[in-house]
């Protein structure tokens, strides 16, 4: 035996683990499987880590995948996306990132005069086929690639489906809506397709990753627009996006912050955040960065923590509610940590404006019939497991997010500016270069 006690260590998988794996052990098939497993197991679990993990994965996939045509690349990406989304259908940032990547591919394809090829890759499924399919056909999520979504080039998006038939490949007489030079895709030697396009795509994806990393900082730029002097700001939990924004505003303005402690899922994190402590779960935060960050209190801002039940009392004295969110749908409705609904309803009752901070990874080009399919149910927390008799006879659902209709929100702060809820649709579609949202 060794002189010192031979101890062992563990590295709990998380985003860092995943990124390390990508750097050292990447294999185009195995890594995808591993990622699927990681998503299912919830080792990568919040929107931002999922977005970063996905973007990095695709960066490497595209770097290593050999494709002869744009169509092949797009098909491949689409296939991978299906698997990832099936693993965690509710973690929409995975899908969002893939959409961004496809948008990048399209842009680069067009820049290289291969716009047609891209169009060709987008044949939508025959609807007859979909109609005749059995119940399982229903379950298939709409393929990323449908004529509706991507058919129209950026230059002159027509907004009614009727007119989009022009982009149908069969109408070859009409030139495609792009004003780019005539396509020479066919004439080009096949092997050089990937050489032309790949470096540009990779660069764009790297920019995308940078954008993700700097999301919070970008949002914080709007601090001065959002927060005015001597305001009382209410926030739920204390997510880092809101924290950054407030810190930025604190540089120049004086205000008060009321932090609502949050539900059982959230309150511990809130307490830690208010005290500027390292939270063990925030693996995506660099410990050093966190330590360097000063707290609001250091900047002289008063921070008050209240419990959920007190909100309606405080709301009368609050000027503004600033919230973080997990996801925002195209119609302006959002998925926010459980307990937020309480806040916004109180705000509405008092006519207090609600501001929502949403990074670009959070915008989902999705419309939906049923909001409850997006609500992830966690482990029951209301009653302890120890209460054996109670848990035998009582059901304790624990939704981890709330669905909040867009009508409760005053405006959104996004990377690309301040947006009203009913214009969210437009902002989202522009971000993804799509013309319609997917219906899920």
């Amino acid at each position: 035996m060794a002189p010192t006690a031979p101890t062992s260590t563990l590295q709990t998988p998380g985003l860092k683990w995943w990124l390390t794996h990508l750097e050292t052990d990447f294999h185009h098939e195995n890594s995808v499987e591993l990622y699927v497993g990681a998503l299912k197991r919830r080792v990568i679990r919040n929107p931002v880590p999922a977005a970063v993990g996905t973007a990095q994965l695709f960066l490497r996939l595209i770097s290593s995948y050999r494709f002869q045509s744009i169509r092949q690349l797009v098909d491949y990406i689409s296939g991978v996306e299906e698997r990832l989304s099936a693993a965690r259908p509710r973690e929409m940032s995975v899908r969002n990132m893939v959409r961004r990547v496809v948008g990048i591919i399209r842009e680069e394809a067009e820049n290289n005069g291969m716009g047609d090829q891209f169009q060709e890759a987008l044949r939508s499924e025959d609807f007859e086929e979909a109609l005749q399919g059995g119940p399982t056909a229903l379950k298939k999520r709409p393929s990323l690639m449908t004529v509706k979504s991507f058919a129209v080039a950026a230059s002159n998006p027509s907004l009614t489906n009727v007119f989009e038939i022009f982009s149908h490949p069969s109408s070859s007489i009409t030139s495609s809506a792009t004003s780019s030079p005539p396509s020479t895709g066919v004439a080009k030697p096949q092997s050089s397709v990937q050489h032309d396009v790949r470096p540009a795509i990779i660069q764009d994806i790297q920019e995308l990753i940078e954008e993700l990393d700097s999301c919070e900082t970008n949002l914080a730029e709007y601090a001065m627009n959002v927060i005015h002097r001597n305001e009382v700001i209410l926030t739920y939990g204390f997510p880092s996006t809101v924290q950054r924004l407030l810190l930025r505003a604190a540089q120049k303005r004086d205000f008060t912050v009321v932090v609502v402690e949050g539900s059982l899922n959230v309150y511990r994190k809130t307490h830690n955040a208010v005290m500027n402590k390292d939270t063990a779960n925030e693996e995506d935060e660099d410990a050093a960065e966190l330590a360097a960050r000063k707290s609001l209190q250091d900047r002289g801002i008063q921070v008050i923590v209240i419990s959920d039940s007190d909100v309606i009392n405080f709301m009368g004295r609050v000027n503004k509610v600033i919230l973080g969110t997990e996801y925002v749908f195209a119609d302006g409705s959002l998925l926010a940590p459980a307990g937020t609904k309480n806040i916004v309803r109180a705000a509405k009752a008092r006519n207090t404006p609600v501001v929502v901070l949403s990074g670009s990874y959070a915008l989902c080009p999705i419309t939906t019939f049923f909001e409850d399919q997006w609500i992830e149910m966690g482990a029951p927390k209301t009653v302890d497991f120890q209460e054996g008799y109670v848990i035998d006879n009582v059901e304790m659902p624990n939704p981890m997010v709330d669905f909040i209709p867009g009508s409760y929100v005053g405006y959104f702060v996004t990377n690309n500016g301040i947006v009203a809820p009913n214009a969210m649709y437009r902002a989202t579609l522009d971000l993804y270069h799509m013309s319609e949202c997917d219906l899920l």
Binding site: M1, A5, L10, A86, T136, F385
Partner: protein
């Protein structure tokens, strides 16, 4: 993560990376995954290893491996003993064997001779696989707890003293919790502050609600917590000393009962300390018996083990979605318009359910066909099962490919194993265990002949009753233990479960027994472990006292219950074993018979008849299993050795006991064959010469008891041709 001392730059392709020249070694935690080595899931485990049984439609071992995966363990050694080839096959074909598996190194160690955790540990030590701290886990563990904090604490302790050899992970669970094993409640005595475990008792080994703790504990420690509310996850972080200790003490079999107890008791000798890590949030439990299996299934359906839930679809081709009320439905489930699915139900793909059928709180596997007008409640139905119309299934486990005809009623606690066919209109009585395979069930000839018991499965059915074998090593694997751990033992729902248990103990008079736990709890026979105490002086004096008091009761013709009460009181006060009780009973009764013969001039036969018939209830209360019966006969034999007319006495008693159903033919044969009975030492062989005839007769005779009466009158000398 907080434990990582340096940034890891090398790929982890195999476990045990040591960096040369580092002062501190960095070693990934390895896991040893063992079987529970218990037989509580028979007859389901006759063909399949326990860790491959499905719980909520996923094999148990998958849960364990998922847990290890999200804890970051990359090396797993699986110890397989029973049905090892099946485990191997499964792992080989599963996602854990793919290059994309998060567990980089999953090795199966086949060890067919291991029958306990102890054996596995010794084997481990021999093979020298482990050089660092490792995680000892069982293949039926399900949990979502985070090992980080546990490991951190453990390493802190190790850094201070290398004698802190083990950290047990325990979860708070209150006293009466569904996920705790009922048959063995572990009492942990823990020193507050250091969380060091200083004593361990398993209630259930001894009788009654009480247990005794050595007073020395209180003297040695200032503040102790005595916890009976802990759910033992059987998850330990062990130092490499642990397998070594097992090798040194080769009688250590059970990890807690033997090893833990042993180390704690010999603290002076070893100076090792064992610590407990008590969790009050997060989930961890072991499916070690049918009762816990059912409870954990319910826990999983209620999402306590999130993210280990059916709708996480951790299995490769699973596609569950969650609906309101904790209902999980996979793709391609076809429900009729009037089907009602109640809360906490899981439906696997390909299943079809008919009209007006109500399914609630159950797990239904894949490709099942369930007919119309059926009610299924709290059941576990695995894959490929066909259930007819109008059936009622309650609290049962129905394994793969079983067919149930129309209008079958499956009563609570039943277990129907693979491939059984139950004909229409049959009622499967509560607590039945029906199986269809002939592999390794019993050594008894009589059972081998039974292929199908039509009483049990109906005409046209296929299947027969599984009876627990006597050869199980572990004491609590007897039928009673498993019944207590069976599906329906629940203090709150008294009716059926009690009756299913009391048939074994055969005790109608127990209601008057004022020992509260006795009716609901069955004592384990420990005739094996207390053999030593026979020679004890204390035991002898107790024996005298007990037999005398009983004798006076018998003589004075006291009511049976009163005598029984007295006897019990005596037993509990001295903590006597059942063997001793039997001895006392035998002494008293035989003395009484003699008395009758000499004083009241009755024939031996008549006297025996009077005494043994009258007091048979009392005798029954001391006998629980076949080996107890054998034990009893041995005791009688021994007793008769010194008596005048001993042989005859023995013969008569044997006959009477057989008649009164106190012993079975099987036991008689076992007794006869037993060495201790046939040995020449102590006159044993002699005294049984006469009884030989009886035994031979038994072997030839049919089972009708009327014949026995004839033979009895044939002669007190018992010589028969």
């Amino acid at each position: 993560m907080s434990n990582r001392k340096e940034k890891k730059a090398t790929p982890a392709s195999s476990g045990g990376k040591k960096r040369e020249g580092d002062a501190r070694e960095i070693h990934r935690l390895q896991a040893i995954l063992t079987d529970g080595f218990e037989n509580r899931f028979r007859p389901l485990t006759l063909e399949t290893p326990r860790c491959l049984l499905p719980l909520a439609n996923t094999p148990l071992i998958d849960y364990t491996l998922e847990f290890l995966a999200f804890s970051g363990v990359e090396d797993v050694f699986i110890y397989a003993s029973s049905h090892a080839e099946k485990i191997e096959e499964y792992i080989r074909g599963s996602k854990w064997n793919q290059p994309s598996s998060p567990i980089k190194n999953c090795q199966i160690i086949v060890s067919p001779t291991s029958t306990s955790v102890g054996d596995a540990m010794r084997d481990l030590d021999q093979k020298q696989i482990i050089t660092h701290d490792f995680l000892l886990i069982h293949g039926d563990f399900i949990g979502n707890l985070s090992l980080d904090s546990v490991l951190e604490e453990h390493n802190k302790r190790r850094a201070i003293s290398s004698k802190a050899i083990m950290t047990m992970v325990l979860r708070e669970a209150g006293t009466a919790h569904r996920s705790k094993t009922r048959s063995e409640t572990g009492i942990f005595v823990i020193e507050k502050g250091t969380n060091r475990c200083v004593h361990y008792e398993e209630v259930g080994t001894k009788d009654g609600d009480m247990t005794f703790l050595p007073a020395s504990l209180i003297k040695a420690h200032s503040e102790l917590q005595i916890r009976s509310d802990l759910l033992d996850c059987s998850l330990d972080i062990c130092a490499p000393n642990v397998p070594v200790l097992y090798t040194e003490n080769f009688d250590y079999q059970h990890h807690r009962r033997d090893f833990l107890n042993g180390v704690l008791r010999e603290t002076d000798l070893y100076e090792m300390s064992i610590h407990a890590h008590i969790l009050s949030d997060q989930y961890g439990a072991r499916a070690r018996s049918l009762q816990t299996y059912d409870a954990i299934s319910r826990d999983i359906t209620s999402r306590w083990a999130y993210p280990l839930c059916p709708d996480s679809n951790l299995g490769i081709d699973q596609a569950y979605s969650l609906k309101k009320g904790n209902i999980y439905v996979e793709d391609d489930v076809s429900l009729a318009k009037s089907t009602i699915i109640n809360r906490m139900t899981i439906l696997g793909s390909g299943t079809r359910i008919g009209e007006n059928t109500v399914v609630g709180q159950s797990v239904i596997g894949r490709n099942c066909e369930i007919g119309d007008e059926t009610e299924i409640e709290c059941a576990h139905i695995w894959d490929g099962v066909t259930i007819g119309d109008g059936c009622k299934i309650n609290n049962a486990i129905i394994a793969n490919n079983v067919t149930l005809g129309n209008r079958c009623i499956i009563q609570p606690g039943s277990i129907i194993s693979y491939g059984v066919k139950i004909a229409g209109g049959t009622t499967v009585r509560a607590g039945s265990r029906i199986c269809n395979s002939s592999s390794k069930i019993n050594d008894d000839d009589s059972d081998d002949e039974k292929r199908t018991d039509e009483d049990l499965v109906g005409i046209g059915g296929i299947g027969f009753e599984y009876e627990g074998s006597d050869d199980d090593d572990d004491d609590d694997d007897g039928l009673e233990g498993s019944l207590r751990d069976g599906l329906v033992f629940n203090m709150n729902h008294s009716n059926l479960s009690d009756s299913s248990i009391s048939t074994i103990s055969d005790d109608e008079d127990d209601s008057e027994d004022d020992m509260p736990g006795l009716k609901a709890r069955l004592a384990r026979s420990d005739s094996v472990t207390t053999a030593g105490s026979e020679d004890n002086d204390e035991a002898e004096s107790w024996h005298k006292e007990a037999s005398q008091s009983l004798f006076s009761a018998v003589e004075g013709d006291h009511p049976v219950e009163v005598a029984s009460l007295e006897l019990n009181g005596l037993r509990m006060s001295a903590n006597a074993s059942w063997h001793q009780v039997r001895r006392a009973v035998v002494t008293a009764l035989v003395a009484r018979v003699e008395q009758l013969v000499s004083k009241a001039s009755k024939t031996i036969a008549a006297a025996t008849e009077t005494v043994f018939t009258r007091w048979s209830p009392l005798i029954k209360r001391t006998i629980f299993e076949r080996k107890d019966q054998v034990d009893f006969l041995l005791i009688v034999q021994k007793e008769c050795v010194d008596k005048k007319q001993g042989p005859t006495l023995l013969f008569a008693i044997c006959q009477k006991m057989f008649e009164a159903d106190l012993v079975e033919e099987v036991s008689v044969n076992a007794w006869w064959a037993d060495e201790r009975s046939s040995t020449d030492v102590g006159g044993m062989a002699n005294v049984r010469k006469v009884t030989k005839a009886f035994v031979e007769w038994l072997a030839e005779a049919e089972e009708e008891s009327s014949e026995v009466e004839d033979s009895e009158e044939d002669g007190e000398d018992g010589e028969e041709e």
